[in-house]
């Protein structure tokens, strides 16, 4: 036993390593990245006991994890909330096939969208898939979650989702680290045919999954992660999920005077709520994310007694992450004396690093698309550092929706007659979700120009390796782009005129063309240099 200082992500990873983990697969995504990075950096992975890898995208990571589970070993796939959309196909079907070796899907949600384009709540995915979901309240629970989830997964033969939120994923705390469990030996499932989801088999498996729900509910009823503590003051009762538990405990540092129900494991059995509903006139539901528990309790028509308040009722903000102050306000607790928020500070959005290769490419694209063809062209972009090209001084992109959409949206707009329709996508995003869209363009002869900014890394999440590994040209050729219209340029300021000319030629080409703008990410380059020369800040 030792005490360590760990991020929520790291605590979860250490907990999985200690619980007999054999495999970890992931595509990096804030705030989930540090789970898999921690496993990759661990002695267990370096020595080969754990197979930990970055994958092309979240779907391939979860499929690999499902395969390892099929072969009897404990495994996890980790992703950010929107990554589960990419992996939703395998997720929703893996639950029908079921797990053999313990299978965990770690999903880190991002309320307040610190680094995301929405704040969807992964508990709803768990609910839709009919699988158990564990929502740790703090780093210690995050450490304990994998052992519990693996045990549940193997006993109930189901994948288990562990849901984190940014504040837990990226907050460090002292964690008591315990003993380690040995990994499973390889073994195949006795009833292998449940992994063949032909309708005739899948119908039976789905019915069985539905029939087993009372078992899952009973697990939640027994789980110490769900606990009711009575209080002397039933004028209001408090139900708190996950990290919300901490905010409530913080406000009542001397102990909560109100009946208090802590929630950390789903699905939720009705019996769990009976004591607090019977005892209280009003109930405040505190959940970071969507008002899922609140909505279930309010029902339709809205239940009159007790009155349930929370994010739906407007007592807590409907969007954004929770804070201790928001909960104190919802409870009607007088504000502490505090200074008024200063109006002086200006916003300071993130920006491309000085010397970033994307800056040079943004300049080239704006010169060609904005300043030519009557300014009617549009630049369809994607998820990555180059999304910051949306901000001044570049104003270089017009769209950013989800991984890969740059290519396919450009194609659709071109089909509608828009010209130039230019796509701006990073190397890692291209291998994640851009290749199939490019194939569509090639097959249709779409009049689009796809600029792949190749900085040889997954930069935004901290410089993980890029799956393309300098094979972008051959990938594009393999997908059928005419070799004459695959142009490789150096993303350098002094090549500006030359690059403008090349991009203009390809924009004028009436068909699908690809311009690959290459230069290594300056952060990655700097890190490589820094590993030799030590500096004053880390």
């Amino acid at each position: 036993m030792s005490i360590r200082l760990l991020l929520g992500d790291e605590a979860l990873a250490q907990g999985a390593i200690d619980a007999g983990l054999s495999g970890a697969y992931a595509y990096p995504g804030t705030p989930s990245t540090e789970i898999t990075q921690y496993v990759i950096d661990s002695d267990a992975a370096r020595s080969g006991r754990i197979h930990a890898r970055w994958t092309a995208n979240e779907k391939t990571s979860l499929e690999a994890a499902l395969g390892m589970s099929f072969a009897g070993k404990r495994v996890m796939a980790s992703m950010k909330h929107v990554g589960l959309n990419v992996a939703a196909d395998v997720f929703m079907n893996a639950v029908i096939a079921g797990a053999h070796g313990g299978l965990i899907v770690n999903v880190a949600d991002d309320p307040s969208m610190h680094s995301s384009q929405n704040e969807q709540d992964s508990r709803m995915y768990a609910d839709m898939a009919l699988v158990p979901c564990i929502e740790p309240a703090d780093q210690q629970e995050a450490y304990a979650a994998p052992a519990h989830a693996f045990e549940l997964s193997e006993r109930l033969r189901t994948p288990v989702l562990i849901r984190l939120v940014t504040r837990l994923a990226h907050s460090r705390a002292t964690v008591v680290v315990g003993e380690t469990t040995s990994p499973n030996e390889m073994s195949l499932p006795e009833d292998e045919r449940r992994f063949i989801l032909l309708p005739a088999i899948a119908r039976g498996s789905y019915a069985a999954l539905v029939e087993r729900q009372p078992e899952f509910l009973a697990e939640s009823a027994r789980s110490p992660l769900n606990a009711f503590e009575d209080g002397d003051d039933p004028s209001i009762g408090i139900i708190a999920c996950g990290i919300g538990v901490n905010y409530v405990r913080e406000i009542f540092s001397e102990g909560c005077p109100h009946p208090f129900l802590k929630i950390g494991q789903y699905p939720l059995p009705e019996s769990l709520f009976t004591p607090i509903l019977d005892r209280c006139e009003r109930i405040l539901v505190v959940e970071d994310g969507y008002p899922i528990v609140e909505r279930a309790l309010r029902g339709f028509p809205v239940r009159l007694t007790p009155t349930v308040i929370g994010r739906l009722s407007g007592h807590l903000p409907r969007t954004g992450e929770l804070s201790p102050q928001a909960i104190a306000d919802a409870l009607g607790i007088e504000r502490l004396p505090a200074l008024t928020e200063s109006e002086t500070p200006a916003g300071r959005p993130p920006s491309l690093c000085p010397g970033c290769p994307h800056a040079d490419t943004c300049q080239v694209i704006t010169d060609v698309v904005r300043n030519a063809a009557g300014g009617n062209g549009r630049i369809f972009s994607d998820i990555g550092c180059y999304t910051l090209g949306a901000l001044p001084p570049f104003n270089a992109i017009d769209t950013c929706v989800e991984m890969g959409a740059s290519i396919t949206m450009a194609r659709g707009a071109a089909d509608a007659g828009l010209h130039p329709a230019v796509s701006l996508i990073g190397d890692s995003t291209f291998t994640h979700s851009g290749m199939t869209g490019l194939l569509d363009c090639v097959n249709d002869g779409s009049n689009v120009t796809i600029v792949i900014v190749d900085n040889s890394t997954t930069a935004m999440t901290g410089g993980q390796p890029s799956a393309a590994e300098n094979r972008l040209v051959s990938i594009c050729q393999g997908l059928g782009v005419e070799p004459a219209h695959i142009r490789v340029v150096a993303a350098m300021a002094h090549k500006h005129e030359e690059n403008v000319a090349i991009l203009k030629e390809e924009v004028d080409h009436p068909g699908t063309s690809v311009v690959i703008a290459q230069r290594e990410c300056i952060q990655t380059a700097r890190r490589k240099a820094k590993s030799k020369i030590a500096g004053g800040s880390t």
Binding site: T174, Y247, L336, S342, T344, P345, G536, T538
Partner: protein, 195 residues
Amino acid sequence: MRRNVVLAGVGGQGLLSIAAVLGEAARAEGLHLKQAEVHGMAQRGGVVESHIRYADAPVHSDLIREGTADLILSLEPMEALRYMHFLSEGGAIITSDAPVENIGNYPELGEIFEELRQLPHVAIIEADRLAREAGSPRCANMVMLGAGSGRLGLSEASLRAGIEAIFSGKPNEIIEMNLRGFGLGLKAAAEALGS
């Protein structure tokens, strides 16, 4: 014993290194700790903040409640003002005087200083000058940690040990430079706050 500290700055200033030293020192003193950090997109030259809370009893919330911060330690003057409303009665702002003007609409620096000076407990530290004196502008973060150290409730020895721990593996002269910067910051803040 209980402390709520807001660390403020701009991505790339070495704020997470301060957080790491504080975490190390608090753990060495056997305290409970929670430390919310910013990773990902926000780090690219944008606003960076970290809430650090430690106590001799369990710490629940990862976030600091408004009106309860004992210290706002900022590597940048405008960023210090951004979190003013978190300050408790008696809480202090200790900030570097060096602006990072990577935005077009950066306010008048004199007005920022004026607003800061209206607060009862404020120290504005010439962090860059002291960092250069210590050996390199890159240790300005440790200068500011030194400047804040009188209000952190942690012993100087554990903070110095924390610096040695997080820079372990780096050449000795780097560790020495950061410790020197820490010492200069400590002295400057003691003079500014008269404590």
